[in-house]
Symmetry: C2
Subunit: 225 residues, 2 copies
DNA sequence: GCCGTAGTGATGCGACTGCATCGGAACGAT
DNA sequence: ATCGTTCCGATGCAGTCGCATCACTACGGC
C-alpha cells in the first residue's frame, strides 16, 4: 500500500518503514505544508467562483502542483474539502483570539467584545474571501454530515469564547450583573453569522455590520442606572 | 425563432402569431405552472444533495418532464436557478405575511413580531427544506451578481416589513418609545438568518432559535419602568 | 554496482455535464 | 387533404468531472 494521507492521523512509522530524518531527507516532502497550500487554493477557488467550481484539476493548477500530488494528499475530493474546512475554521478561530489578544490599549470589555465579534463576522473587506468560503461551507454542511460536525465544533468554540468574554465583563463590573452570558453569546454568534451573509450579498455594508455588533455590545454595558 | 420563455416578460403575441384561446387549446401548455413545477424540483434537489448536484437531467426527471421541456422553459441553467430563487423568495415573503395575518387572537405586537420572525428564520422543522435552499442560494449569491440582486430585494422587503411591525408596536405603546425601528429590524433580520444557518448545521435547535428571537422581541417591549 | 521504496507527472477511463439539434406529433387554417 | 405552426421527447456532441493507473526518477541500504 502506498504512503498516503490519513485524515484522522498523520503519524508515520509503519512497521519497519522508518521515517527519514533531519539532513538527508532525499525526497521526503512536507505534507502538512503541501496540504495547507492545497487548502488555500481550494479556498481561493471557492471565493472566486463558488463551491461547485472546485475541481481537482483547477485546484492542482492553482496550487502549482500536479493532479497526482493532490490525489496523494487526499484520497477523495470530499476529504480535501473537509480538510479545507478545518483549515479555515482554524484560521477564523485563530483570528478571533489574535484580535482579542492584541486589542488596543483601552481594553474595556465592550471594546474587546466588539473586536472579537467583528473578527468572527468576517465583516472587514480584507476578510471577504474567508467570508465567502465560510458561507459556502455552511451551506454545504446542510447536506454533508462530516462538514456539519466540524462546523458545530467551531461554533461551540466561538460560543465559549464569547461566553467567557461576557463573563469577564461582568466580573469587572462593566457589564450589567443581570446579563445572561449564554443567551447573549448565542445571540451575538448568530447575529455575526447573519451579518456576514448580508454583507456578502450586498444588503449591508461592512461598516453597518460593525455598527450593529457594537450597539449590541454596548447594550450589555452599564448597569441600568 | 422558436417560442421560448423570456425571463423578464412572459407576454405572448408576436406579430400575427395569435395565442390559442379558451376551449380549443390543443397543445398549448401552461408555462407558468410548468416553470413552478420545475422550480419546485430544483429546490427539492438542492435540499436533498446541495446546489452542485443540480443538473438539467435530474431536474427534468424529478419534475416528470423531458429534458427538452426544461430547456424550452429556461434558456440556460443559470436562468433556471434564478427563477428558482425568485420562486422561493416569493414563498418566504408570502409565508411571513401569511403568518402575520393569521396570527392567533391575542395580537400583541410582540407576538406578531415573534411569529413573523420565526417565519423568516425558517426555523420550524417543516421549513427545513426551504431553509437549506435559501442558504444554498445565499452562498451562491456571493459569487453571482444576478442572484445577489434578487436576494437584496427580498431582504429589503423583509426589512421593511419588520420596520413597519416595530413602528406599529410603538404606536400602540407596547414597545418602548425610544426604540429604533431601523436598528432593531436590521438586527432581527440578521439574527434570523444567522439562526437559520445554526439550526441547519445542528448547532442550535429550532426551539432555541425561536426562544432567542422571542427574547429579543420582548426586549423591545415594555417601557423601561 | 544493484535493488527496494517513496514520490512524481502524465494519461486513460467511464460517467456525466450543459446545450444544440432533430424528426415527428397535434392542432388550426385553407 | 394539405399545409403552416407550435410543441414535444430523444439523441448527438464536445467538454469536464473524479478517480485509477501508469512508467519513471531520486534516493538509502546493501
Amino acid at each position: 500500500m502506498r504512503q498516503r494521507y490519513d485524515a484522522t492521523a498523520s503519524e508515520r512509522g509503519r512497521t519497519g518503514a522508518r521515517q527519514r530524518r533531519d539532513t538527508g531527507v532525499p525526497k521526503q516532502v512536507d505534507y502538512e505544508e503541501r496540504r495547507r497550500r492545497i487548502a488555500d487554493s481550494v479556498c481561493s477557488l471557492i471565493a472566486r467562483s463558488g463551491m461547485e467550481a472546485v475541481s481537482l484539476r483547477d485546484v492542482a493548477a492553482d496550487a502549482g502542483v500536479s493532479m497526482g500530488a493532490v490525489q496523494r494528499c487526499f484520497r477523495t475530493k470530499d476529504e480535501m474539502l473537509l480538510f479545507a474546512l478545518e483549515h479555515i475554521s482554524a484560521r477564523v478561530g485563530a483570528r478571533a483570539h489574535t484580535r482579542l489578544a492584541q486589542s488596543p490599549e483601552p481594553r474595556s470589555a465592550a471594546t474587546l467584545l466588539a473586536r472579537t465579534l467583528s473578527a468572527i463576522a468576517l465583516a472587514d473587506p480584507e476578510d471577504r474571501t474567508d467570508a465567502q468560503v465560510w458561507l459556502a461551507f455552511v451551506a454545504h454542511a446542510a447536506v454533508s454530515e462530516p462538514l456539519a460536525a466540524v462546523l458545530c465544533q467551531t461554533y461551540t468554540d466561538l460560543h465559549d469564547l464569547l461566553v467567557w468574554l461576557i463573563g469577564y465583563g461582568k466580573d469587572t463590573g462593566e457589564f450589567r450583573a443581570d446579563a445572561d452570558p449564554e443567551l447573549a453569546a448565542r445571540t451575538l454568534l448568530a447575529l455575526a453569522d447573519g451579518l456576514t451573509a448580508h454583507v456578502l450579498v450586498g444588503h449591508r455594508t461592512p461598516e453597518s455590520a460593525h455598527d450593529l455588533l457594537s450597539r449590541y455590545a454596548e447594550g450589555l454595558a452599564a448597569p441600568p442606572r
